[in-house]
Structure formats: structure tokens, C-alpha cells
């Protein structure tokens, strides 16, 4: 996993609540056995019509959002299926940060495991950011160490993140490697319960 420290990027606002993982990556694209290459299928049925042409009415297709790396979402983002293909697609498309008022648990977890920073801020703040990003090309900077999101005009909001997740992300740690340091304890546990 790549370490995450400071990221500055273009914001793409997706003003919908309850965006589920079936929308983020439709199931017909889950059949690959690799981790890479899912970005082309992100929000597939919203981005493309039945003939595979880009839909004019879906904002991610607008030129001004080309190269966006911060995804601004609505409430309960990433609900539904546990497919990790969803964060893989988000990441492969180029997003490094998601900002939303709330997330589905598994999705948020999956983001962390892949080095995507899923930030939770209040609905009002998200709303404010939506407005800015809908009107113009809008950039934000995310500083994980300081737990801050800010722009160049003085907007600033802080966010919470559990210390453990922060450490993993900042250092880009391999979680399995970390856990294997506890192997003795795992074996002891197995012995003690007769497992």
C-alpha cells in the first residue's frame, strides 16, 4: 500500500445519497481475477449508455472534472455489497480521497485497506463543498497528519480518524505483515480454546 500524507486535487461532486456498490461497479465487471483495471467500469451505467457512449447528463463526463482525484459523495456512501472491486474502481479511476457525510461500514473499511482516505465531515460542510465544486473547478488539499481539509481561499474543516487507521495509511503498512508479529499470541489463543 502507498503511504498517504498530503494530497491536493480536483474535486468531483456526486450529489446523491445511498450510492451503492452495485452502482460504483456493476456486477458484470466483477469477474476479473486481478486487482487492477476496474477504473474504466466505475459508475458504468451512469457514465455510459447502452451502446457504450458517454452520457451527456452525467457530470463525471464533463471536461471540467477531468483528472479529479477527490470524490465528494452523499450520505451512506458505498452501501450494499461488500465487493472490494468498488474501492478498486474508485482508486483505479484516479480518486485518492472520498469526502462524504457518512459511509457504509464495509466500504469505508475497504477504502482504508487500499490506501484511499475516506473522510467523514458534516452534511453542512459537504453541502458547502458541493456548491463550490459544482460551479467551478475546485481544488482541495487534504493533510492526513494534521487531519485537515482546506482550500486556497480560507475554507478549512478538520476530520476524525481512528489512530490505528491513520498510522496504517500514513505509513502505507502491510496489515498482514503487522498481524504476523502477533503470531505467538494467535497460536496461544488457539491452544487455550482448543481450536
Amino acid at each position: 500500500m502507498e503511504p498517504f500524507q498530503i494530497h491536493k486535487g480536483l474535486v468531483y461532486p456526486l450529489n446523491r445519497s445511498n450510492v451503492d456498490t452495485d452502482q460504483i461497479i456493476p456486477k458484470q465487471f466483477l469477474k476479473r481475477i486481478e486487482r487492477q483495471g476496474f477504473g474504466q467500469f466505475l459508475f458504468y451505467h451512469w457514465r455510459f449508455d447502452d451502446n457504450g457512449h458517454p452520457r451527456k447528463d452525467f457530470s463525471l463526463n464533463e471536461e471540467k472534472y477531468n483528472g479529479a482525484s477527490i470524490l465528494l459523495g452523499g450520505e451512506n456512501f458505498g452501501c450494499g455489497s461488500s465487493r472490494e472491486h468498488a474501492p478498486w474502481a474508485v482508486q483505479d479511476f484516479g480518486f485518492k480521497v472520498i469526502i462524504a457525510p457518512s459511509y457504509a461500514d464495509i466500504f469505508k473499511n475497504n477504502c482504508g485497506k487500499n490506501g484511499i482516505l475516506a473522510i467523514q465531515v458534516s452534511e453542512e460542510k459537504v453541502h458547502e463543498l458541493m456548491k463550490r465544486a459544482e460551479n467551478d473547478q475546485y481544488h482541495l488539499t487534504v493533510d492526513l497528519a494534521k487531519q485537515l481539509v482546506f482550500d486556497d481561499t480560507g475554507f478549512e474543516v478538520s476530520f476524525d480518524i481512528p489512530a490505528y487507521s491513520k498510522e496504517m495509511l500514513l505509513n502505507g503498512l502491510d496489515e498482514i505483515g503487522v498481524t504476523l508479529n502477533y503470531e505467538d499470541k494467535i497460536s496461544q489463543y488457539e491452544l487455550s480454546v482448543g481450536a
Binding site: 451512506n76 450494499g80 464495509i106
Partner: protein, 472 residues
């Protein structure tokens, strides 16, 4: 005296391998279930770092999401075939037992776990699949994980997990005649929304829950994730023990009695506290039908599709408008006026023997409406066999249903069971998201009885009226 504890806290405490303040706990995983869609990248990860599966004996794999339900042996989709072959090779390489499509134990992962007795009270159970919550019906702590976590469990048999908050959903009273476990859980989600359970593990309790059979309890716990909760569980009791007795992986004879004695201790203590409690009156629940594009957009069958213009919040108005657009419904339209093109009886929510029996009872002696295509997909090959022994297949086929082999099938349409764009399906599955059953497909979630009645009528009907004379 020790502080009273609920079942969730008890199971948690029994599984903590390592605890440090301010950090997630390292939790031991008793049972890891694996399927073909969410595992290839996990095994690949192991291979790349030369790691092994720590406990192949606690890991069980099946193929379900991609499998054809007609002519199992002919997998036309090459990429599906690759995924199934990959699982087979991975299981061989890492020494994991697999119920592949030719195996008599094959079926949907959440159906076969309980069937084989792998699922037991007090266990921690994970699978790279959000409906792992199903196994909570046995008083297990069972939750879905992503593929990175699948790899983590394969390598270490543990997971780093923060202790969840606990939510007691207490269902008082009795469900009415013709009102099912599916209606119960759909009604709860319709009332409280698709994220009231986020961050919680739910314990379902109360008189109405105690009265449910094991298979009905699985239906309820299955949809916990549709309320946002990663897990939902029910304290084990005599119903649980009777179901488990004699199943292949359940301890036998004296050991069974010992296990039961231990399982009884799991029950939540009388004064146990929860972070939150909801009380629901079972009597108020009617048969349910969803009208929208998430499982919380549901109504009693006697209701009418909502009118977005009556809503105050612009974001809600927008959401409902978009849902109605997608679903091709008019605001204010009565649910019973919605005509359907397809019926799907299946999925890990409602494909067990009792579900099939109940649906068969409704269709018995009737014919599927001429404008409806209807299929029944049993949850496992052994359910299929058992149903055939009882002649349920004949009841269905004589009525005009297709009788298929086991698999996830039209629940998520990864195989070739797909609803065409714009067509409408009454489905016993658990998700009605856009495109779930096929690009542009319109899904209405219902119980097996309601699906069966709709198949015959060609539109939604209140199964209590439909079947009053012969069935209930």
C-alpha cells in the same frame, strides 16, 4: 457480581486474541467461508508474498455467484469460467475444501454453511460477502468483509476489528396470518431506513422473533446489512439446537449435549445493556412490497407509491423522483396495480426448503399468468433434491414455473439469468438496486408467498386475500 452482558459482547470477549487500548481488537475467526468472486485477488496476494492459509480446516469454499442454473456443466461465459477455475486451483494449491459445481454440497454460501452444520452458535464467521449476516440466526457473530480482509483471514485467521455498538431490535407480539419473516425485516427497513444499523451489530429479540423457525430467522438476519448493520444475530434456543442436531459438522452425542450447555450461556443476560433499543409491534406489519431502488423504499401491499411532490426536503424529493423514473412507476399508483413480467424465487434470503414449500402451496392448482416468466432456484443442490422428493418441483412446473439448479442466479444476475432492460420482477432476494438483476431491470422485493401469488395474478396481490380459502 459481573456486569450483565448481551450475546454480542459475550462472543466478542471470547474471541479477543490481543487487546490494546485505543486500537481495534485482534479478533479470532472460527469459520471462513469463501466464494469465487471475492477471493481470487486474496489468494493471489498470498502467493505474491509466499504466505500460506493458516487454517485450511476452518476455511470452506463454494461456487455460487456465477454458476449456471440450467445445464450446470456448460459455462458459456469464459470469464465466469476463469473465475470458477481460479477458485478450484486456489483451493487445491492452498488445501481448502471446496464444494464445486459438481459437488452434492454445492449451493449458495449462506445456505450451505447452516445446512452442513458449519454455522454454530457462538462462532465468529466471516465471508467476502455482505450477506454473511445470515449466519447470525444461530447466535453467531457473522459479518461480511472485503477481499483484503479475506486475504488477512486466510493468512492469520484473525481480523483487526473495533468493538461494534449494540442495537436491540425487539419485535413484540405475533405476526399476523400470511405475514412472513421477510415482511418483518422489509417493514423494519422501510420504517427506519437503510442506514439505521450502521456501526451496530443488531440483536433481534422479542416474542415474534422467538416464534420464528431457523429458516425464517435466517431470512431476518440475512437482511441486517440492508439496514446498514454488518451483523445481526438471534440468541440460540431450543429451535436452534433442534435444527443443528445431527448435521454433519455439529458435535455428536455427548459432545452435542456439552455444546448445547455452552451455547445456552451465550444468551444475553436479563439486564444486559445495549447502545440503542428499538421496539416494534409485530401485529402492525402487513405483507410488504418494495417500490424503489433501495431496500428501504418499501410499503405494505395495501399502500400506494409515494408522491415526491408531497415531500419537503429537496434531496428526498429528488431521490424518490429518480427512483420512480427508474422503476417506471407513477406517483400515487396502488401497489396492487403494478404488473410484473418476471418472478424469481431464490437467493440466500428465501431459497430454503420451507420457502419453496410455502410458495408451492400458493401456486398449487394455479397457472402462472400468461405474461409472466417465473423461475425457482433452490439455494443448494441438497434443497433441490429434498424438494423433488416432496414433489414440489412438479407443483411448480405444472403451474408453469421453471425449476432450476442451485445458485445465486437472478439475485445479482452474474450468470445468464438476467432480467431484460425495462422489465419488472417480483423477487424474493434482498436488493433492488438499479441494475442489480440486469441493466435497467426493475426489482420489487417480496416474500416467497407474495412472489408466488404475483406470478399467478400477473400483478401484486395481497397473498392473504389471494389464498384465503386454501392456503392459510
Amino acid at each position: 457480581m459481573q456486569k450483565p452482558k448481551n450475546i454480542i459482547e459475550k462472543i466478542w470477549e471470547q474471541h479477543v486474541v490481543h487487546h490494546e487500548d485505543g486500537k481495534p481488537d485482534l479478533l479470532y475467526i472460527d469459520l471462513h467461508l469463501v466464494h469465487e468472486v471475492t477471493s481470487p485477488q486474496a489468494f493471489e496476494g498470498l502467493r505474491m508474498s509466499s504466505r500460506k492459509v493458516r487454517r485450511p480446516d476452518r476455511t470452506f469454499a463454494t461456487m455460487d455467484h456465477n454458476v449456471p442454473t440450467r445445464e450446470r456443466h456448460v459455462i458459456k461465459d469464459l470469464i465466469s469460467k476463469t473465475q470458477m477455475d481460479t477458485l478450484k486451483n486456489n483451493c487445491e494449491e492452498f488445501g481448502v475444501s471446496l464444494a464445486d459445481i459438481h459437488h452434492p454440497d454445492n449451493g449458495i454460501v449462506h445456505v450451505i454453511g447452516p445446512e452442513l452444520g458449519l454455522t454454530q452458535p457462538g462462532k465468529t464467521i466471516v465471508c467476502g460477502d455482505s450477506h454473511t449476516s445470515t449466519h447470525g440466526a444461530f447466535g453467531a457473530l457473522a459479518f461480511g468483509i472485503g477481499t483484503s480482509e479475506v486475504e488477512h483471514v486466510l493468512a492469520t485467521q484473525t481480523l483487526w476489528q473495533s468493538k461494534p455498538k449494540t442495537l436491540n431490535v425487539k419485535v413484540n407480539g405475533k405476526l399476523g396470518l400470511g405475514v412472513t419473516a421477510k415482511d418483518l425485516i422489509l417493514a423494519i427497513i422501510a420504517k427506519y431506513g437503510v442506514n439505521f444499523g450502521t456501526g451496530y451489530v443488531i440483536e433481534f429479540s422479542g416474542e415474534a422473533i422467538r416464534a420464528l423457525s431457523m429458516e425464517e430467522r435466517m431470512t431476518v438476519c440475512n437482511m441486517s446489512i440492508e439496514a446498514g448493520a454488518r451483523a445481526g444475530l438471534i440468541t440460540p434456543d431450543e429451535t436452534t439446537f433442534a435444527y443443528l442436531k445431527g448435521r454433519r459438522h455439529v458435535p455428536k452425542d455427548d459432545e452435542f449435549e456439552e455444546a448445547v450447555a455452552k451455547w445456552k450461556f451465550l444468551a444475553s443476560d436479563e439486564d444486559a445493556a445495549y447502545d440503542f433499543t428499538l421496539e416494534i409491534a409485530a401485529e402492525e406489519i402487513e405483507p410488504q412490497v418494495t417500490w424503489g431502488t433501495n431496500p428501504g423504499m418499501g410499503l405494505p401491499v395495501s399502500g400506494s407509491v409515494p408522491d415526491p411532490s408531497l415531500l419537503e426536503k429537496p434531496s428526498e424529493r429528488e431521490e424518490i423522483k429518480r427512483a420512480l423514473d427508474y422503476m417506471g412507476l407513477e406517483a400515487g399508483q396502488p401497489i396492487t396495480s403494478i404488473k410484473i413480467d418476471h418472478v424469481f424465487i431464490g437467493s440466500c434470503t428465501n431459497s430454503r426448503l420451507s420457502d419453496l414449500r410455502k410458495a408451492a402451496k400458493v401456486v398449487h392448482g394455479h397457472k402462472v399468468h400468461s405474461s409472466v416468466t417465473a423461475i425457482v432456484v433452490p439455494g443448494s443442490m441438497s434443497i433441490k433434491l429434498a424438494a423433488e422428493k416432496e414433489g414440489l418441483d412438479t407443483v411448480f412446473t405444472e403451474a408453469g414455473f421453471e425449476w432450476r439448479d442451485a445458485g445465486c442466479s437472478m439475485c445479482l444476475a452474474m450468470n445468464d439469468d438476467v432480467i431484460p432492460t425495462g422489465e419488472r420482477c417480483a423477487s424474493t432476494s434482498n436488493r433492488n438496486f438499479e441494475g442489480r438483476q440486469g441493466n435497467g431491470a426493475r426489482t420489487h422485493l417480496v416474500s416467497p408467498e407474495m412472489a408466488a401469488a404475483a406470478a399467478v395474478a400477473g400483478h401484486f396481490v395481497d397473498v392473504r386475500k389471494f389464498a384465503a380459502q386454501e392456503v392459510l
